[in-house]
C-alpha cells in the first residue's frame, strides 16, 4: 500500500496530477487578489457616498453646511465652465513647478556629487528651505516677485524640489564601488562616470523622489494660490475654493476639492507608470517574481 499522506511533497502526487493542488490554490488566490485590489476600494467609495446621501436626506442637513453628493455633482456640471479653466491654471503651475523642481533638484544633486565640499556647504540650506513652511515664506515671495505666476512657481518649487534633490544625491552616491573601480581602471573621465554609471544608478532613487514631488508640487501650487489671494488673471482652483467659501457655496467647494484630488491621483499614477516603464528591465522594484 502506498498511502500519500502528504500529497504536496510527494513525487507520486506529481505523476498523478500534472499541476499540484497547492500551486492551483495559489494561482486562484492571486487572481482573487488582483480583482480585490480595485474592487474593494470601489465598494468602499460607493458605500461612503450612499451613507453620505442617506445622512443628508435623513437628517435634513442644509446644503450650505453639508451638501449631498448629488448637489456636488450638480455643482461640478453647472460650474464646469468656471472650474475647468481654473483647473487648467493650477495644473499648469503644478507641472511647471515639477519641471523646474526636477531640473533644479537633479542639477543641484549633480553639483553636490561633484564635490563633497559643495554638498557639505549647501545641503543644510536645502534642508532649511524644506522644513520652513511654505505658507510663511509665500507672502514674502509675493512681495519680492512682481509676477504672480513666477511667485506661484517659486512657492511650488520650494515645496517640490527637496525630495528630488535628496533622493538623487543619495542615488548618485550609491553606485557600486566595484563598478567605480572598473571605471577608474579604464580611465573614465568624470563626465563618463557621471553619464554612464552614477546617473543610471541614481535613476530609481530619482523616480522615487519624483513621485513624492509630483504630489508636493500640487500642494505647493494650491497653498501659494491661497496666499496670493485675489483673483483676476491666472487664478486657479484654490482661489475658486476661497471665493466659494466666502459665498457659502459649499457644493462648489466640494466640486473643486474633488477636482484637485483627482488631479493629484492622475499625477501620481502617471509618474508611477513612467517609473515602471523606465525600470521594468532591470530594477528589483519593477520585477515580478513567481515565488
Amino acid at each position: 500500500m502506498t498511502a500519500n499522506l502528504d500529497t504536496t511533497a510527494s513525487p507520486n502526487a506529481e505523476a498523478a496530477a500534472p499541476v499540484d493542488p497547492a500551486e492551483l490554490r495559489k494561482a486562484r488566490r492571486e487572481r482573487i487578489d488582483r480583482t480585490a485590489r480595485w474592487l474593494l476600494p470601489v465598494v468602499v467609495m460607493v458605500a461612503t457616498i450612499a451613507l453620505w446621501q442617506w445622512y443628508v436626506v435623513a437628517f435634513k442637513v442644509p446644503h450650505y453646511i453639508l451638501p449631498g453628493p448629488d448637489r456636488v455633482v450638480q455643482a461640478l456640471i453647472a460650474d464646469w465652465s468656471m472650474l475647468w479653466p481654473a483647473l487648467l491654471i493650477t495644473i499648469a503651475i503644478t507641472l511647471g513647478a515639477l519641471v523646474i523642481a526636477t531640473i533644479g533638484g537633479v542639477g543641484l544633486a549633480v553639483l553636490f556629487a561633484q564635490s563633497k565640499w559643495v554638498e557639505m556647504s549647501f545641503f543644510p540650506y536645502a534642508v532649511i528651505l524644506q522644513v520652513t513652511p511654505v505658507i510663511v515664506i509665500a507672502p514674502l515671495i509675493f512681495i519680492y516677485v512682481p509676477s504672480k505666476i513666477a511667485g506661484l512657481l517659486i512657492c511650488a518649487w520650494i515645496v517640490a524640489f527637496f525630495p528630488i534633490l535628496s533622493n538623487t544625491t543619495l542615488g548618485l552616491n550609491s553606485a557600486d564601488h566595484n563598478l567605480r573601480n572598473l571605471f577608474q581602471l579604464y580611465g573614465a573621465t568624470r563626465w563618463q562616470t557621471l553619464r554612464y554609471l552614477r546617473l543610471p544608478a541614481a535613476l530609481p532613487y530619482f523616480l522615487g523622489g519624483l513621485k513624492i514631488a509630483g504630489g508636493l508640487s500640487l500642494i505647493g501650487a494650491i497653498v501659494a494660490e491661497f496666499v496670493a489671494g485675489t483673483g483676476g488673471l491666472g487664478s486657479g482652483l484654490a482661489f475658486k475654493i476661497l471665493e466659494a467659501s466666502y459665498r457659502l457655496n459649499i457644493p462648489r467647494m466640494f466640486a473643486a476639492i474633488l477636482l484637485i484630488s483627482v488631479t493629484g491621483i492622475i499625477i501620481f499614477a502617471s509618474l508611477s507608470v513612467l517609473s515602471h516603464l523606465l525600470l521594468r528591465h532591470w530594477h528589483e522594484s519593477a520585477i515580478k517574481r513567481d515565488s
Binding site: D176, N178, N181, L182, L185, Y186, G187, P200, L203, W282
Partner: protein, 277 residues
C-alpha cells in the same frame, strides 16, 4: 628572480621575460595595518600565476597595486616593456581586471556591459560590435547579447564579466577570486573555459584565490602568501602539462601538487604568529 626555479611547461610559446616586477613593494593602510611588506615578485610573460593565501595576506592588495587601483607605500613596480614614465594600465588596454563579484551594470544589456571598456575609449557600439561579439563568443554567450544581467545565472554573469575583461584584448589579466561565489560544478566549467582561452590567446594571468585545488588545477606557478604582515613565503611550480582536464583533477600528480601547496599554506599560516616577535 624568485627563489625557486619556474617550470616553463604550459605556455611553451611564451618568452620568459617578466611582464611586471614588484620590487620590495609595501602597503600600509591609514589604520596602520601592514597589508604588504617587502613583496618582491617577477610575473613572467605568458604565465598563469596564482596568489594563494589566507584572508588578510595582501593578495588582493597586490593585485590592486598591479592594476593601478592602489599605490604602494614603499617599493616600486617595474614594467620592462613599457616606455619610461608610461605605466601600462587598463586605459591602454594592456591590463584587465575581473572582480570577485560579476560587477555588471544592471541597467545595461549584456552587449552594453561588454562594450563598456571600448565605450569609455570613445568607440561607438557600431564600431565595436565585432569585438564585443567575439568576446561574447569566447565565453559562449553570443545568444544573450540583448539579455539583462538579472536574466542570467551567477555563472553566466561571471562569463559576461570575463568577456568584458577580454574585449580589450589585454596582455595581462588580473582576477580577484573570480569564481569564489559560484557552485562547484559551475566553477569547474569556468576553470576549463578559462584554461582553454588562456592557452589559445597566451595572456599572462594573475589569479587570486584561497582554494588550493583551484590554484593547482589552473596555474603553472603558485605564489603562497602569509598574513600579518602580507608577504610571499613560497613560490611553487606546477609542472603538469596543459591542456589539463578532469583526468588531471583525479591524477596522482594533481594530488601531489595539492599536498605540497597545502603544506606551504599550512606553514604560512603557522608562521603568522611569529612575525610580530
Amino acid at each position: 628572480m624568485s627563489a625557486s626555479p619556474i617550470n616553463t611547461a604550459g605556455s611553451a610559446t611564451a618568452p620568459r621575460s617578466p611582464i611586471v616586477s614588484l620590487q620590495r613593494v609595501s602597503k600600509t593602510f591609514a589604520n596602520a595595518t601592514v597589508a604588504l611588506k617587502d613583496m618582491t615578485l617577477d610575473i613572467n610573460s605568458g604565465e598563469f600565476v596564482s596568489l594563494l593565501g589566507p584572508s588578510g595576506c595582501g593578495k588582493s592588495t597586490a593585485l590592486r597595486i598591479i592594476a593601478g587601483l592602489s599605490s604602494p607605500t614603499a617599493g616600486r613596480l617595474v614594467w620592462p616593456d613599457a616606455r619610461p614614465g608610461a605605466q601600462p594600465g587598463a586605459q591602454d588596454h594592456a591590463i584587465s581586471f575581473v572582480f570577485q563579484e560579476p560587477t555588471l551594470m544592471p541597467w545595461a544589456t549584456v552587449f552594453d556591459n561588454v562594450h563598456l571598456p571600448l565605450k569609455l575609449k570613445g568607440q561607438s557600439a557600431d564600431a565595436s560590435r565585432k569585438a564585443v561579439m567575439e568576446a561574447l563568443e569566447m565565453v559562449g554567450l553570443e545568444r544573450f547579447a540583448t539579455s539583462y544581467p538579472r536574466e542570467l545565472s551567477g555563472g553566466m554573469k561571471m562569463r559576461v564579466s570575463i568577456a568584458r575583461a577580454l574585449v580589450t584584448k589585454p596582455r595581462l589579466l588580473l582576477m580577484d577570486e573570480p569564481f569564489a561565489a559560484l557552485d562547484e560544478i559551475t566553477r569547474f566549467r569556468l576553470n576549463n573555459d578559462l584554461l582553454r582561452l588562456w592557452q589559445e590567446f597566451g595572456w599572462t594571468v594573475i589569479f587570486v584565490t584561497h582554494s588550493v585545488f583551484e590554484s593547482v588545477y589552473l596555474s603553472n606557478r603558485i605564489v603562497v602568501m602569509a598574513a600579518r604582515p602580507g608577504r610571499v613565503v613560497a613560490d611553487l611550480a606546477v609542472d603538469a602539462p596543459y591542456p589539463r582536464d578532469e583526468t588531471f583533477r583525479t591524477s596522482h600528480a594533481y594530488s601531489d601538487h595539492c599536498r605540497s601547496a597545502s603544506e606551504a599554506l599550512q606553514a604560512a599560516m603557522a608562521a603568522e604568529g611569529d612575525s610580530g616577535h
